[in-house]
Symmetry: C2
Subunit: 269 residues, 2 copies
DNA sequence: TCATTCGAGTGAACGGCGTTAACTTACGCA
DNA sequence: TGCGTAAGTTAACGCCGTTCACTCGAATGA
């Protein structure tokens, strides 16, 4: 409504400056280097002044974490929007964008996807809310996958297998995204944990003893996972396919409805 | 040779007491709670005394990390040794032991498999050495996998695909374990990153928003990965198999030499 | 216009931290 | 028995988060 007052403008500017300083310290020196005194020093202030803007250092860091989730989500959405209409292409582009962001923003990735940080449990625990920054990131990945399942089909373990092994234990995920089918929920989690494992190991430097270029391994796994997901058996790894997945030219032609797991249906969204 | 002198005995006892106290603090309060002053307080000492035993707090924590690697490796080896001779059974038992250890020792898992810790880079970087605690843990997993590939066969993407995607980028891993074949190296890394992703997400509490019982998801993924690895096509998920993978009774009967990736060969170890 | 309110920022202080330096104590060995 | 030295102490330095009492200046209302 009313334009922000002068006070409010100054205030938001100061908040940004504090966060920028905190992020700079985080990137250059790790989480331990983020101290109120250091931030204030860089701003030409004293540490207690920051308490006018954040109730504690932990709250400031939680604010950073939320920002990073949003930044990552926007990056992923941008990648999706430039990938055309094919949901599989979108998922590939999004996965690559995810990895690129993590590798290019190690400290930020670590903050939101690594160890639980001492004061952030509360933030992490609120992940169930629909509008939690983390949940919104998840949604961005879930949607193309659901579309893929509905249109092109998705090869997953049969429902009886999933029922027996998982039952309703994926309920939190399924309910928070509009009653996902068990197959889609499982496919999402399987893919998510695989991508997470690869990126986290690369970012946390747990891969250097084994791989010289983690990106190549990432691409290989991406291709393998897609081949495993794709319904047509002749599309499996081994038919010479794989290297064309980067460009993905005429794959959609062969993507018939071999094992259409989730029949297309209206509504339920 | 000579029995340890009284001084030496006291010294090692004190070292153990320091490490025990540090671990207790780590478990109860996280890494930030591990402070020389707190350790010394619990021991009825003063903080500078610890410098007679460790050159710095970081060195003490690095020592803890090495201990944890060894403890985990011994746990995994014990699970392998009670799993019989089938290498696939061994791998399953080892994977479950890995997860159990991580879930039961969250702080310890976090220290060695989470964020790079500010003073541990040097320890992590030395992972290339054959006798690094982390490398030795890797070896424990590589060996049954290599055996499995040699005896029962292993379904992996064809060599041309791996060559094109990975080339010699897995050289560090392959060389440090007696010239592993590209297929086995890839299968190991694929499985390792998947298991790591699942366990890390569970331990780091990044799964609670989606799954109520992460163990069920772990078992599902284990079964899926095994089905994907097993050479016989009729063994794939969907043939009603899967739930018997926990006990794995007569699987070895069907494990023919369908796509024997690495022919059995003597030597080369 | 003037008085008042209140947000922003300061300086001092408390207790905690890792680490260093100088010092004392007591054990083990020749 | 004497000596060297390992083990432990106290004091101190400079960090840290946080609290409290305080000042200052800008916005606000009569």
């Amino acid at each position: 409504m009313t334009p922000p007052s002068r006070r409010e403008r100054l205030r938001t500017a100061t908040v940004s400056e504090i966060k920028d300083g905190a992020r700079r310290l985080l990137v250059t020196g790790g989480l331990d280097a983020v101290s109120l005194r250091a931030i204030a020093r860089d701003m030409g202030m004293t540490a207690p002044a920051i308490y006018r803007y954040f109730p504690s250092l932990e709250a400031l860091i939680a604010g950073l974490a939320a920002d990073f989730y949003d930044e990552l989500r926007q990056t992923v959405e941008a990648a999706r929007d430039t990938a055309g209409d094919d949901p599989l292409d979108q998922l590939l582009a999004m996965s690559r964008a995810f990895r690129r962001w993590g590798v290019g923003n190690r400290a930020e990735f670590t903050l939101i996807f690594g160890n639980p940080v001492p004061g952030l449990e509360e933030f992490t625990d609120a992940c169930g809310d629909e509008d939690h920054p983390g949940a919104r990131l998840g949604t961005v990945f879930v949607r193309p996958l659901a579309t893929l399942a509905a249109h092109a089909g998705l090869r997953t373990p049969p429902r009886e297998f999933l029922e027996e092994h998982l039952g309703d234990r994926l309920a939190p995920l399924r309910r928070s995204h509009g009653d996902l089918s068990l197959e889609v929920a499982y496919a999402f989690l399987s893919g998510w944990t695989r991508i997470y494992g690869l990126i986290a190991m690369e970012v946390f430097d747990h891969l250097r003893w084994a791989v010289t270029e983690p990106e190549a391994l990432f691409e290989t796994e991406l291709a393998a996972f897609v081949a495993q997901l794709s319904p047509a058996p002749e599309q499996q790894l081994g038919a010479g396919g794989g290297q064309q997945l980067g460009a993905a030219p005429e794959r959609s032609g062969a993507a018939g409805a071999t094992v259409r797991v989730t029949p297309p249906r209206a509504g339920s969204h």
